[in-house]
Symmetry: C2
Subunit: 379 residues, 2 copies
């Protein structure tokens, strides 16, 4: 009847970033007997409810507190990830996955190298190269910064030759490191405009011993560049699912990846076109908390601490809706059965993801009712 | 684009007790956008990972920090609950439910008053009354303290008349408030020994506006007086389910109850016999986190803060196993699909509930495999 250590297998996981993804990773980690701490400079981050938050200048204390590291924030400096890969039990996923996700040119090169179909593109370092790209790729096209863009920022759709000057005016400064778009000079990338039928994503997880499991392909809807809805599983996607699994597995193996990886794709003329990767748990996988046997968050934690992977199969078809800008009235939302609400404890601000909900009801009327409440509230 | 308050509907819920039930209540509350704080004298309680812990002598500060109160610990002093019922938005469930659950004689009287079948019993204040009870009820019988017993403690099974003196020797001091069994003098209670076929429980939740929802009847298995396994739903229990619903609804209505209430029952000769109530979320409802559309924890929080109740129906048949005394090897446990582990962050100690797992696999082989690992580890 002596009191012993809580659990000799219990680890403290250091997470780079303390947003809602870190919060949901911590929810999963605590259930498994681990603790989390976070490296995050924002005040009162959501994850702070679940563990200690360290600021960047406290990196040494953060490292000292941890057994192993991971990340929830894609724009974490690669140097920090590389430093942590040499500390304690290392960082998962590997820093090179982060480097790739932060640079659309390296990412495109990876897709090409692994024979994963992607959007035709050209590198743009000057107005002349932009004009040349418009000729070669045809219009419309999308001009993007190769580094630093997110949620639709750092993009310009060039519809006619008249737009070229304006596009260069807005984004060209990124090539010199000016204009605040990127911190260091980085080329732009011109991509052919894809008139896609739908946007989908696949999330997979790989363990330290190389096991891989896939969540089903999910259909995503965006509003003003921000994910607003994910439908799991995507309808009529049996063949696409297999293709997407092959593509993401190639990336996982190539990078000797450990943890959850997301691949976002377009469906155009029934073909998959890879858009980008996210080396982390992803908003399009939030449905898995209730909808899958084991969530993306728990599977990521399992991979990072070296536990066997969990079952990624779907329990109930799910629809995930993001709460953006303003919280809806919970009385209205929760009066419908099958609604699971996730509040991020963030203050309201237009365009900000502050919560999500997952509907597991199979009733279309329920879905439409809840969606209309959320749409009226979102801003 | 101004930053406003996080959510004007966000409340701080003050929970009496900070054990694993408080921890799981907090997990549910945080998801809904609320915060929790706890009144708990133990060091490093599980719930402390999810909110601030106040000690008993800090009651005033605890009250000041809260908007509304609830409890997870059944032996909370009724006086504290009564005090809190006058503070802020009050306490749910009502203090009288707590008073009833703490006294088996009042509890029995309630069952009698509401026509809920219970075990025949007699009050015992002396050795003479015990001998008389043995004659009237017949042997075997179970002698219990009317206050303060839990997990099989404070009980003595009298099989033959030879046991009467020993039973009185062990428990009789409770009637004078001595012997450490209860803090104040309290009668004993002699109950006829029920040779039951199985033990079951029903959990229900009632909202402030009187809505009631029922979880399905669950079958419970005990080892050395401690719950070891719950099977949800209990097999072949359609009629019993309806009877149990009627009984618990009578109690909920009678007490003008708000929150989750548990009723434990025996099944003997296919009849339900009420054993006891717990005015709180209950170990036999842990399966509902993964197995029901809305868990007992979320429904309790919804009731306490005045939100609509969630769907109590079952998503997948579940088996819940308690982890007692020692943590099993998680590598072995999680290698089987469909296992959901809940670590309580408690130190190992024989006979102590330190975690649980819920298996949602429908494979009997999986169940047996996991159960045998847990049984080998439990102590």
């Amino acid at each position: 009847m002596t009191t012993t250590a809580i659990n000799t297998n219990s680890k403290t996981i250091g997470i780079l970033g303390g947003g809602q993804l870190g919060m949901m990773l911590a929810q999963a980690a605590l259930k498994l007997g681990h603790r989390c701490v976070f490296l995050e400079d924002a005040d009162n981050p959501p994850a702070g409810l679940y563990g200690q938050v360290f600021k960047s200048h406290q990196l040494e204390a953060f490292i000292a507190a941890c057994d192993v590291f991971t990340l929830e924030f894609e724009n974490t400096p690669v140097e920090t990830a590389e430093l942590l890969s040499q500390q304690k039990q290392g960082i998962y996923p590997p820093p090179n996955a982060l480097a790739i996700a932060q640079d659309r040119l390296i990412e495109k090169a990876l897709f090409d190298e692994l024979n994963i179909g992607t959007v035709p593109y050209r590198v743009v370092n000057s107005l002349a190269e932009l004009q040349d790209s418009c000729n070669k790729l045809g219009l419309p096209l999308v001009l993007k910064t190769s580094r630093g863009g997110y949620d639709g920022k750092g993009q310009f759709v060039i519809k006619t030759t008249d737009d070229i000057a304006a596009a260069w005016g807005q984004l060209g400064s990124a090539t010199t490191g000016e204009g605040g778009l990127t911190s260091t000079p980085a080329p732009l990338i011109a991509e052919r405009f894809i008139d896609f039928e739908r946007e989908v994503s696949i999330i997979a997880v790989r363990s330290k011993n190389g096991d891989v499991r896939f969540y089903p392909l999910v259909e995503n809807h965006h509003q003003q560049g921000i994910l607003s809805k994910s439908i799991a599983p995507a309808a009529d996607a049996e063949i696409l699912n297999k293709q997407a699994q092959k593509s993401i597995e190639r990336i996982l193996t190539h990078l000797n990846y450990v943890g959850v990886l997301t691949l976002e794709l377009f469906v155009s003329k029934s073909e998959l076109i890879a858009n980008e990767i996210a080396p982390r748990v992803h908003n399009s996988g939030h449905w898995s908390i209730e909808g899958a046997a084991c969530s993306q968050f728990e599977n990521h934690i399992r991979a990072v601490v070296g536990l066997p992977l969990g079952d990624t199969s779907i329990i109930k078809p799910s629809v995930m809706l993001n709460i953006i800008g303003k919280y809806p009235n919970l009385d209205d939302i929760l009066a419908t059965d099958g609604v699971n609400f996730h509040h991020y404890h963030k203050s309201e601000r237009a365009g900000r993801k502050i919560g999500h909900l997952t509907i597991i009801s199979e009733s279309i009327t329920d879905h439409q009712h809840i969606e209309s409440i959320v749409q009226q509230s979102n801003c």
